[in-house]
């Protein structure tokens, strides 16, 4: 039996990484989504627009750049799913939630910064996505995705 385990050691390691990735990955994802939904509710009253704002004279006290970024890593299970998807084609569902989480977290962090500065609105919000460790797949390592949200926080004059 010990021989069998030794012979297929790399296979066993691979399978345990996949199982670990599934369990911890889905736990982390559930927890993250709970927190995202809760914070989105808290920050609901702070509007974020992708449009340029236009304000009447005397209203704006100050406008500042606010940014928020989040990096989410994939796990072995998600990577295995994506590799299989590469074979069959179709939506890479395993990565969808990853990007969704990264974008929403980035926006939330940006909004939190805007709120701490006392902003009433964030205008001209933009989203960028970047892959960290693009060569990771070739080196059999895992990569991550980064989403950056940035915009102009507008702080009104006290009335």
């Amino acid at each position: 039996m010990a021989d069998l385990i030794l012979q297929s050691l790399d296979l066993i390691i691979f399978l345990s990484l996949v199982i670990l990735g599934y369990i911890s990955g889905s736990m982390a994802e559930k927890k993250h989504y709970r927190s995202i939904i809760q914070r989105e509710k808290e920050l609901l009253k702070l509007p974020v627009l992708t449009a340029e704002g236009s304000f009447r004279a005397g209203l704006v006290k100050e406008s500042v750049l606010v940014t928020g970024s989040a990096v989410i890593s994939i796990d072995y299970f998600k990577r295995l799913m994506a590799v299989l998807r590469n074979l069959f084609g179709g939506r890479v569902k395993a990565y969808e939630s990853l990007l969704d989480r990264a974008r929403r977290e980035a926006i939330l962090r940006m909004k939190a910064e805007a709120k701490s500065r006392g902003a009433a609105i964030v205008v001209n919000m933009r989203l960028e996505t970047a892959a960290i460790g693009k060569n990771a797949d070739r080196k059999r390592q895992l990569g991550s995705v980064e989403a950056v949200a940035y915009g102009t926080a507008v702080i009104y004059n006290p009335r």
Partner: protein, 277 residues
């Protein structure tokens, strides 16, 4: 325009399918593809193997032999070759020019290389105790030539690795996984080959000596060092205990007589060297 904050229900950006369901669909598809490739390869190899000329095999064999430096012990080699010739006289393999090589490796094993080359490792000679036993091992290797197993194994193995590398990319985790699982498929096939080669060797042994004493001795001795049977589930060879049982069944079924064992010639027994530890 008045801004009114509104909560969104659901999430359109994430597909609602459960990841495990998605995973099992894709895994099922992958297994189906692999099974198909394996079947095509098996059928294709069996078709091609019959057509490969011996010449091409000899060429392949020379390449293979370069991988294993053979020991230049002429006397030992000659003795082995004579033993082989006697065996081959009873076999239906006149097209091959059989040659036996002795490798200094300590492995307890013998190999059938393409082109009629049989490689005996020095470790085997240390373990073997009688002439008949050695003849059985050589007969077993001749059995592989009779079925052209060495080519079949090569064809399938090579085809599988190439297919896995093409599908999933060279040196990727998934291609490793696939070729490993295919090797598992392969093992039951190769265990059948080994059993057929054992039967062939037994037949040769009976023809050469008029009896089959010593046929299962080598395997019986390997049982102690072979480890548990679970290890052999995915091995290329059956468990030695299994082989002993199979050989005994064959001997009983074919009513082969059992005679006296001939002692191993002096050339094959190395002077005992005191071990370092």
């Amino acid at each position: 325009m008045k801004f009114s904050a509104k909560e969104l229900e659901g999430n359109l950006n994430v597909s609602p399918t459960h990841p495990l369901l998605d995973f099992s669909w894709m895994l099922g598809g992958l297994i189906a593809i692999i099974a198909l490739i394996y079947l095509l390869l098996a059928v294709g190899t069996d078709l091609v193997v019959e057509q490969i000329p011996i010449k091409a095999e000899v060429w392949l064999g020379e390449r293979g032999l370069a991988e294993f430096p053979a020991e230049a012990d002429a006397e030992l080699q000659q003795r082995l070759e004579r033993l082989l010739e006697e065996l081959a006289a009873d076999s239906d393999l006149p097209e091959y020019k059989f040659r036996a090589y002795l490798s200094s490796r300590e492995e307890v094993n013998a190999l059938a290389l393409p082109g009629g080359n049989i490689l005996v490792f020095a470790g085997l000679l240390d373990v073997v105790e009688s002439e008949n036993e050695l003849a059985m091992v050589l007969g077993h290797e001749l059995g592989h030539f009779a079925q052209r197993d060495h080519l079949r194994g090569l064809g399938r193995g090579l085809g599988l690795s190439v297919a896995a590398a093409l599908l999933f990319g060279e040196d990727s985790a998934i291609s490793n996984l696939v070729s490993r699982s295919l090797l598992t498929f392969q093992s039951s096939y190769s265990q059948q080959q080994e059993e057929a080669a054992d039967a062939y060797g037994l037949q040769l042994l009976a023809a050469r000596y008029g009896h089959v004493a010593g046929a299962e001795d080598f395997f019986a001795r390997s049982v102690a060092t072979a480890g548990s049977r679970a290890t052999y589930l995915f091995a290329s060879h059956p468990h030695p205990a299994e082989r002993v049982i199979r050989l005994k069944q064959l001997i009983a079924a074919k009513k082969y007589p059992l005679g006296k064992l001939e002692p191993l010639a002096d050339h094959f027994t190395r002077p005992a060297t005191p071990s370092a530890d």
